[in-house]
Symmetry: C2
Subunit: 144 residues, 2 copies
DNA sequence: GCTACATCCTCTAGTGACTAGAGGAGCAAG
DNA sequence: CTTGCTCCTCTAGTCACTAGAGGATGTAGC
């Protein structure tokens, strides 16, 4: 096997994405259809691993499939119109900022709880109010 | 109808959670089984609305059902052991911090893109590398 | 070369969290 | 009393996986 070609298992280990999940990503078009070996095994190269390593954390951060496709397209086609890229990036930016604000509020409240705990009792828990009041995030980050 | 009792529709409007989703939350036990009117309609009160207003953004931030249950339990039972609450809060804190770090990296990269765009071309897009390198968030925030 | 065992293949089905739609009942206004 | 809105239950669909069956392939030791 030529170097810089990986089986699906190696790709999984290197990216942290599970084998069936990689196959699933191919199926839904997040990854290009992989080339095959003589014995019908999928073969991946470095760029594929890069994509994989991107998809997982993006999912973790709540980006939907469509949004990830859009972000990947920015890389695939860096010559696409500036206006398009700008619109995509700006839209993401707004959402990401909202998320950060929400998480910061939650973070402060959790810290407060831990601190209060050190000094004896829980007292009243304001985690719920904190989140309910400060966040207005609606589901996953939207499409482009 | 006594004041401070709400139909499911009113609860939906006030919390921003859709009617079928409220029924679903009851079904899976995130909300207590609602009391019913003469004509078999669900009735909600203020505390129910508070729970609802909490669940939605918590979901948006990626908390899984179990984690939300745990957070709600901190409110329901503020006298539970300090050690338990402390452990829960600390675990959440670590995850939330990771998320914030990831989103900040993504945010910076998106800003850079928008800025570069203003001055003509996109150039090379590093959004993918940014996320792939800086984030190690695995799926939803875990259980307690 | 042969056996053992890991890894791969495809396919179907299950999970979690919704979301949509069918079909029917309750209630308030004109 | 009929129109129309909201409610009820129930089934099924979506998305993003995840698990498992059943079979083929690749590799390492004998």
């Amino acid at each position: 096997m030529p170097k810089d070609e990986f089986t699906i298992g190696e790709a999984a280990r290197q990216s942290g994405v599970k084998v069936p999940t990689i196959r699933y990503y191919e199926q839904i078009g997040l990854l290009p259809v992989a080339s095959r070996s003589e014995g019908n095994r999928r073969l991946y190269d470095r760029p594929d691993l890069g994509r994989l390593a991107f998809i997982r954390p993006a999912r973790g951060l709540g980006f939907a499939g469509g949004a990830i496709r859009t972000l990947l397209s920015l890389q695939d086609d860096p010559d696409q119109s500036c206006a398009a890229a700008d619109a995509i990036a700006k839209a993401r930016l707004v959402e990401v900022d909202k998320r950060i604000a929400s998480l910061n509020a939650l973070r402060d409240e959790l810290k407060r709880m831990v601190k209060q705990c050190e000094s004896g009792r829980i007292g009243d828990c304001r985690v719920i109010e904190t989140l309910a009041d400060t966040t207005h995030v609606h589901g996953r980050l939207a499409e482009a």
